[in-house]
Amino acid sequence: MDSFGIELENGSIIAIAIVAVVYIAVITAFGGYFARFNKNINDFFYSGNRFSWWLPAASMVATGIGSYSYLKYSEQGYNTGMSSTMTYLNDWFLAPFFLFGWLPIIYFARIKSVPEYFERRFNRTARYISLTIILAYMFFYIGYNLYTIGVALEGMFGVPQLYSVPILAAFLGAYVTFGGQTAVIFTDLFQGIMLYVAGGLAIFAGIYALGGFDEWWAYLPVNHRLPFVHLTDNPMFNSAGLFWGEALAGSIAFTFMNQGFLMRYLTIKSVNEGRKAAFFNVMVTLPVSAVIVGAIGWIGKSLVIKQTVTGGALAGYEFVDIQNTFHTFIIVCWATVKHNAWIFGFIVAALMAALMSTIDTLINACAAIGIYDLYKPLIKPEASDEHYLKAARWASIITTFIGLLLVIWFHAQKGSLMSIHYKGIMIIIPAIVTTIFMGAFWKRFNATAACASMILGSIVTVITVWFPDVIDPLAWFLSGPQNGIYIYFRALFGMLITAVIGFVITLLTSHRDDKDVTGLTIDTLDEAMHSYKGGEPNHEVGKKVYEMQVKKDESIQADWIEVAPSAMTTLKARDGDLLYMTDSRWWLGGLRSYHVKVKTNKALGDKDIAMSTPTFEEAYFLPGKAVTLEKII
């Protein structure tokens, strides 16, 4: 194994190892605590749809940054500069499709997984074709994350992947298996903070070493300061390809198809809050993350140039020599923290946090697919919640194990980590993302067309690996790179072929299809909302009612509450409206909360809220704690 270009003494290794092991142990214990919030599989996988927007949104920070991100984007940042942010800053184009299309569709239809959507929208065959592709995508990411952290640990400490990867996977599997989605969200929130703090620390050390922000900027070559690379020059990283392959195909895959992210949105208490989370993610999380993962590369470039100009190492620092750019992150951090093993250990722990926070989401997501799409419909359709909860935990263990096996496959691959990543993803996603898009946004698109599109689209995309020339005309038409290496244009080509197949087959066969798809396409969202509520939606915008005191009344049926007319007026609610009640301590983020239907009770005081014990317990409320009420629809 190629060394990471830094020499660690035994004392340093021990210090770094202590920080890393303590960190992993703390996260595992913290995640395990949340096992108590799982009464059924809805809790286990979707946390009972109870969270405020900021909790899943903040936890997405860590989910979106994988263990490969620091290494890959620092390398990219060193090689091409601030254009390494391109893949993080081109997601807004998708906003209308997601905020007013896919998000309300899956939320109101109570979709648990994309394959389930395919069965309800098309048929069972479509479900299992999509399931195969989606699992390939998810397992690819699990194996890839485990493999990259194994590469990093082996490079730094000489620990063979054979030992490091299974040990890490065992810790991860432990808290995901017991804590479920709630554990994933809370540990990811914690790990997101850790990632930003450690990343920020590394950036601060680098900027300080350079002599300040002005010096860093002044020694950064102009083409490294730019937010975009050359339109076509570099086949591996060019603006034209990144737009079509990343902003279009990659972003749709990450937003529409990544079960981990979808589940995160489904934990949120309402569609409106889901929109807030998505907005925050694109506007804040992704730009900040782009800086956190790429900045060490930009600093490294500036540092190397300043060394050259000033004729040697910067005062007080060792000479930075980056022979293999994949090692940029490790080499620059080690040099700029002046070989302080404790601080460096903290940064290494951040690498592990990035790994754990991405893989825990993926493991939980794959387990959800395993239960909702395989076990429940095919193996045991009727069983108790306890049984499914146990099965969900087994599914988490099996998923972790499969991810481990995939590391062996990755180990045998040739090429850089980045090329393995994009080559794989850009082959897997085109057919499925196009089919999802057409299914959600074109009502006439039918089951025959969906199945054919996924199968034929995938086959054609794979064939282009051996016959890339077929992409030439498309690249020429769009003024993309025309050098025979089409990592990103392959995705666009696959999407276009899939769309054409879907379009033609729909036109030829649509007369055969009379399936009711109400609530599953963008033009039937009002019906979806009606069905979700079980009545006419109330779109009036009311205000929250704070500091309500719970009064137990066993005569009220479960999942219903009663409040005074004054509260109803503030909420602008009517009898039968869907409300959300939560513990008034905002920082719990909705951990203790529940959706209920409301009824007016003139006998109650302005700040009284009446409910039965089962409803109180479903909300995980604590006696004596105030409750906040909010109308949903």
Binding site: M82, L89, N90, W92, F93, L94, A95, P96, F97, L99, F100, G101, P104, W217, A218, Y219, L220, P221, V222, R225, L226, P227, F228, V229, H230, L231, T232, D233, S239, A240, F243, A247, L248, N272, R275, F279, V282, M283, S302, I305, K306, T308, V309, F441, F477, L478, S479, I522, D523, L525, D526, H539, V541
Partner: protein, 106 residues
């Protein structure tokens, strides 16, 4: 609004897009040059405008975004504003990158 959009002939948009997709990047490369940072910028936001614009038209035409609802109005404004927010931020970034002197030239 949505009724007016409903009368749009969607099939006319495809050839219009194809013409744009063919000529727009060629025009940029001819006038600015492939090396110019503004070429990549305009390529991204030119096609991005079509991308976001088609989404905006779709959500309005299908009624998924109903501008008579206060919350939908707010989100619609954010969607449109968000596009320009990123476009302006990237433009400012390029301007700063090319206008501040570089000290590393030997």
């Amino acid at each position: 609004m949505s009724e007016k959009l409903g009368s749009l002939k969607w099939w006319l948009m495809l050839p219009a897009f194809l013409v744009f997709a063919f000529y727009f990047p060629r025009y940029l490369i001819q006038t600015l040059g492939a090396d110019n940072p503004w070429t990549s910028y305009l390529y991204l936001y030119g096609f991005g405008f079509f991308y976001t614009g088609s989404g905006v038209l779709l959500i309005l035409k299908t009624g998924a975004c109903n501008l008579s609802r206060p919350l939908h109005r707010k989100w619609f404004a954010l969607i449109v504003g968000g596009f320009f927010y990123f476009a302006i931020a990237h433009a400012l970034w390029i301007y700063l990158a090319i206008s501040i002197p570089y000290k590393g030239a030997l």
